[in-house]
């Protein structure tokens, strides 16, 4: 080992430790707000704003939830969020896998142009459609209807792209050629041969879709106009007021909004990260 390499090794060790310290501090900064949210969720409003602030859990969580229940139709809002999330996920999986399969398994006129169109829809920013979408929903009589939330976004370009990639790479073409030879109709090729093999792709896209729907704020803000039809995030925000905010209740509510995400995340963070960055890394 020559002297340059030795010097590099000690320099490398110093850098490695700098890196670890840097990452640890960053990790604390990322997680601390969550920690405070969960701790505050178990304290009364008066306790939260004492000096020093509480750093450990207490036992006022259900009290806080009760305060929240007095202010919003808690179960209804939560159920609506869940319902919209499930519908959005189911329809997205169906529509995206149909479209993805069409792009892989068939040759047809305008195929290239249609795929370009799918990808182009990713470039249109959401705010541009906000006002006309509201007017369309108003015209259709869909204001305060859950379908105004789950239907319009049920065939996202990202999902079609993800499905197309998965079907073309993981399902051999021979498989559905053989099914066709055996006299399967085009629908049963899709439904009986392809869909059962889409498990992993459904998992990734389903998680992404459900999380996006669960967190969606701008969508319900525009189309859900009465507190009984608010999704959970919208209901939570309505509790926030410039004066006399029930912080304990709000923190408990936020914890309720975040816990399902944490559970999903613990079990599937790798798949989620891969799915959410897939388009980016390949693009």
């Amino acid at each position: 080992m020559n002297t340059t390499q030795k010097r590099n090794n000690s320099e490398g060790a110093a850098l490695a430790w700098t890196g670890r310290v840097f990452l640890a501090l960053g990790g604390i900064a990322m997680l601390a707000p969550f920690f405070f949210m969960f701790v505050f969720a178990t304290h009364t409003r008066a306790d939260i704003f004492s000096v020093p602030p509480p750093l450990f859990f207490s036992d006022h969580f259900f009290e806080n939830i009760q305060i929240l229940m007095a202010k919003i139709p808690f179960w209804r809002n939560l159920g609506l969020s869940l319902y919209v999330g499930i519908m959005a996920t189911g329809l997205t999986l169906l529509f995206c896998s149909m479209a993805g399969f069409a792009f892989v398994a068939y040759e047809f006129r305008f195929k290239k142009a249609l795929f370009a169109l799918v990808m182009a829809t990713m470039l249109v920013p959401a705010f541009l459609g906000m006002i006309p979408t509201f007017m369309i929903m108003d015209g259709l009589g869909w204001i305060n209807q859950p379908r105004a939330l789950y239907l319009p976004a049920a065939a996202p370009a990202m999902g079609i792209f993800l499905m197309r990639q998965y079907i073309s790479s993981a399902i051999p073409k021979d498989l559905y050629e053989a099914a066709r030879m055996d006299g399967c109709s085009e629908w049963s090729v899709y439904w009986r041969v392809v869909v059962p093999l889409l498990g992993p792709a459904f998992g990734t896209l389903g998680l992404i879709t459900f999380i996006a729907s669960w967190n969606n704020f701008m969508g319900p803000l525009v189309v859900m106009r009465t507190p009984e039809m608010y999704t959970f995030p919208l209901a939570l925000r309505s509790v926030q007021s410039p004066v006399d905010t029930e912080w304990g209740a709000l923190m408990a509510g936020s914890a309720v909004a975040v816990i399902p995400l944490l559970i999903i995340f613990v079990f599937s963070s790798r798949r989620l990260i891969e799915g959410l960055t897939a388009g980016a890394v390949r693009g």
């Binding site: 020559n2 010097r7 590099n8 320099e11 850098l15 490695a16 890196g19 670890r20 840097f22 990452l23 960053g26 900064a29 990322m30 707000p33 405070f36 949210m37 505050f40 004492s50 000096v51 602030p53 529509f95 995206c96 149909m98 479209a99 399969f101 069409a102 068939y106 920013p125 705010f127 541009l128 459609g129 906000m130 006002i131 006309p132 369309i136 239907l151 319009p152 976004a153 049920a154 065939a155 999380i211 704020f217 701008m218 803000l221 995030p233 919208l234 925000r237 007021s241 912080w247 709000l250 923190m251 509510g253 936020s254 909004a257 963070s269 989620l272 959410l276 960055t277 980016a280 890394v281």
Partner: protein, 299 residues
């Protein structure tokens, strides 16, 4: 016929909820109507909405706020994410997935929960941030750096934007870390081996191999940050109670568009504002593209 009916849900949804709204929004830009009398009172007003938007000082103020927020929250994301990704990629063995998970968590968390969380941390009386800062102001030597009295972070014009920018930075930095880690894994290891043989230090390897190889991802990530930053709506909307805060200093263009439509009931003007913002986003994306192409030869 099979491919067409397989594509029909996408096509139908795209036509009704994708293409039509955009065309409709373009049409609305040239119309005015009395919201009380409904759409039947709609009349063509030519460029009136556009002229009105250009003369509206709040449009320009909101645009200034948006650009400020996009830059101040966006640029540091990349400056921090690149070294973080490097450290994760080089020095973390089995902790790697845990670290990526922790950094990624804010990205998948509900904006409302995040905004509520930070509103409490930044609240004036006894918020955690103020408690820590006033405590630090009593430290010897460095105490003068910190405010001795409680700061009304979300209640005064000068501090709203920095707080919003900080929250946005906190939320999206992890996403960029993951992008850069993925990009770094694509860099061929023999490039580093060759550099090491020549006795190059880690820092030199980072500077001369890692950074140049990351250029395509930097371009992609920067475009995402610019486009995302200019559309900023949810975080400032919730943190400022929907109104943009004192002197509108936290009001972004997307927020102003929302208020114009749903509080002032002027959908025509709001449509003009949204196209205005769209053109600026397209322009800046194009400029970013140019900037990266000029520096790298081909991006």
């Amino acid at each position: 016929m099979a491919p067409y009916w397989l594509l029909s849900p996408f096509l139908l949804l795209f036509l009704v909820f994708g293409l039509f709204p955009i065309g409709f929004s373009f049409f609305l830009m040239f119309q005015a109507w009395d919201p009380v009398q409904g759409l039947s009172s709609m009349t063509y007003v030519g460029l009136e909405n556009i002229a009105f938007a250009i003369e509206d000082p709040l449009v320009w103020l909101s645009l200034k706020n948006t650009l400020w927020l996009a830059i101040v929250s966006g640029l540091p994301q990349h400056l921090v994410a690149i070294p973080m990704a490097y450290f994760i990629n080089e020095f973390l063995g089995k902790w790697r997935n845990a670290a990526m998970g922790a950094y990624f968590l804010p990205y998948i968390t509900s904006t409302v929960a995040i905004a509520i969380m930070f509103s409490s941390l930044f609240s004036t009386d006894y918020g955690v941030v103020n408690v820590v800062l006033t405590h630090m102001s009593e430290w010897p030597l460095v105490g003068w750096l910190f405010p001795g009295a409680n700061v009304d972070w979300l209640g005064q014009a000068e501090t709203i934007k920095p707080v919003v920018a900080m929250v946005v930075f906190w939320r999206y930095v992890g996403f960029n870390v993951i992008l850069y880690v993925a990009a770094m894994q694509g860099i061929p290891r023999d490039l580093y081996e060759a550099g090491r043989m020549d006795g190059a230090s880690n820092l030199r390897l980072f500077w001369h191999i890692t950074l140049p190889q990351l250029k395509p991802m930097m371009y992609f990530g920067t475009v995402l940050s610019v486009v995302g930053g200019l559309q900023l709506f949810e975080e400032p909307f919730i943190l400022t109670g929907g109104r943009g805060g004192l002197e509108y200093s936290g009001m972004t263009t997307a927020m102003y568009m929302y208020r114009t439509a749903f509080e002032f009931n002027d959908f025509g003007l709001a449509s003009a504002i949204s196209w205005f913002l769209f053109i600026i986003i397209a322009l800046l994306t194009w400029l970013t593209n140019r900037a990266f192409k000029d520096r790298t030869g081909a991006a």
